[in-house]
Amino acid sequence: MYAVGHYALPFYRASREEGDLASVVGPEYAAPLAAAYCNLRKTSIYGGSNEIQRNIISQMILGL
């Protein structure tokens, strides 16, 4: 997002009604970035949060 700069800001909500803010401005690769960032925020949480993983590492690997 930082590489793209201000063109990371326009946000297209596909679930919205037809004819609503449809056009894409700026480079095409910029369009999905913000949505991807928000969606991928979950990766440090689901499947066992980072905190839990650190607990597991401490107990199972470091033997603490």
């Binding site: 930082y2 700069g5 990371a8 800001l9 401005v25 925020r41 979950k42 980072n50 905190e51």
Partner: protein
């Protein structure tokens, strides 16, 4: 340094905060978010009634005659509420530009209406290849008899979609990055040759890309002296930087409070998760970042009108860097501590996170301002 606010300043801050807490609930905001226009004219009129839209407008033109500190206090409250209305564009940037450009006719025509909440005027300056540099300008204005012809493209203009009038920067002379040759024109969004593509931005606010093709502008729509708008543009930009730093601070405080509240109530593994040391340290770090951001925001507001340009540049860029880093840390940690649910629309925290992200990308990101700071420190 004396950080005590005056009676008037405290009253202003309280008034705005109390109004928004009463009238801008989470549900109300979501309804506005989903509306066609994306902001509420009713709320805007109410803010005008309280004098809030006139904070940056001189008393002579119907405003409150306030400055960067008053703006900071208002923006703190707007941040907490995550106001969707075009305050930054219409009530901070435009009045600052008009006041400093020294065009009494334009000021007299536009400022009273802006203060009264009756007209939205937005600055269209940023272009596709702008990476934070204010002097980057390729849109051109060719003089031809009694009018100018404007050609160019403006990108991601904040609230450019709903403006009754646009203040468009265009080059009347000079090369792409020259500070001289920058002129400002009053442009009717419905004029021939103006094509506006409107959209919502990541944070729910509205923006627009504006294409200008052979747009004929009468010569009397030039604002200020030809080619000499840069100092006023820079002044408006400096106030805008201070304002969004203050907005971010309002958001950070609200995020930290919400996160603290959540972790005290959320029970997992047989106890409130706030009892776990790791999370306590995480929240302590969040508060640390927030406190630093508050201090830098104060510095930005004070130095915003500092006459020495290097001192001003250093303070504002440093503030933007600290706020950018703090906002990112606090936003990400808040989601982490709320769990995946924190990213959903149903909680305020995701909305705060998105606005903090947008602020970081606005008016130059952290990397850009780090470079600016270095350059202004004489080391670059």
């Amino acid at each position: 340094m004396d950080f005590k606010f005056s009676e008037e300043q405290r009253l202003l801050a309280d008034t705005v905060q109390r109004f928004l807490r009463a009238h801008y609930s989470f549900e109300k905001r979501r309804a506005i978010l989903d509306s066609r226009e994306g902001w509420s004219r009713e709320i805007w009129r109410a803010l005008a009634g309280l004098g809030v839209t006139g904070v940056n407008i001189p008393e002579a033109h119907g405003g409150l005659g306030g400055g960067p500190v008053e703006t900071m206090l208002v923006m703190n409250a707007l941040g907490e509420a995550l106001l969707l209305e075009p305050y930054l564009a219409a009530a901070v940037i435009t009045p600052a530009l008009l006041t400093r450009i020294g065009d009494e006719k334009a000021s007299a025509e536009l400022l009273p209406d802006i203060a009264a909440g009756e007209r939205i005027v937005a600055l269209a300056h940023q272009e596709p290849h702008t990476r934070g540099e204010l002097d980057h300008l390729t849109t051109s204005a060719r003089k031809s008899g009694d009018h100018y012809v404007l050609d160019g493209y403006k990108s991601v203009i904040i609230h450019g979609d709903c403006a009754d009038e646009l203040l468009v920067t265009a080059r009347t002379s000079g090369q792409m990055n020259d500070k001289s040759g920058v002129s400002v024109f009053r442009v009717d969004p419905r004029a021939a040759g103006v094509r506006i593509t409107a959209y919502a931005t990541l944070d729910g606010q509205r923006g627009a890309d504006i294409e200008l093709k052979g747009v004929k502008i009468a010569a009397d729509r030039l604002v200020g002296a030809e080619g000499e708008a840069y100092p006023a543009l820079e002044s408006a930009h400096d106030l805008a930087l201070s304002a969004i730093c203050a907005e971010a601070v309002g958001i950070m405080k609200a995020v930290n409070a919400a996160t603290l509240d959540y972790t005290k109530n959320r029970k997992q593994f047989g106890q409130p998760i706030a009892s776990f040391q790791v999370l306590q340290h995480r929240m302590a770090d969040m508060f640390l970042h927030s406190e630093q951001a508050v201090s830098m925001s104060y510095l930005a507001a004070i130095r915003c009108v500092e006459p020495d340009p290097l001192v001003r540049r250093r303070a504002l860029s440093a503030a933007k860097v600290v706020i950018g880093q703090a906002g990112r840390f606090i936003g990400q940690q808040a989601i982490q501590l709320h769990g995946g649910m924190g990213m959903t629309d149903e909680l305020m925290v995701s909305h705060y996170f998105k606005r903090l992200t947008a602020i970081d990308l606005t008016f130059g990101d952290t990397d850009f301002h780090t470079q600016q700071f270095t350059a202004a420190s004489g080391a670059g």
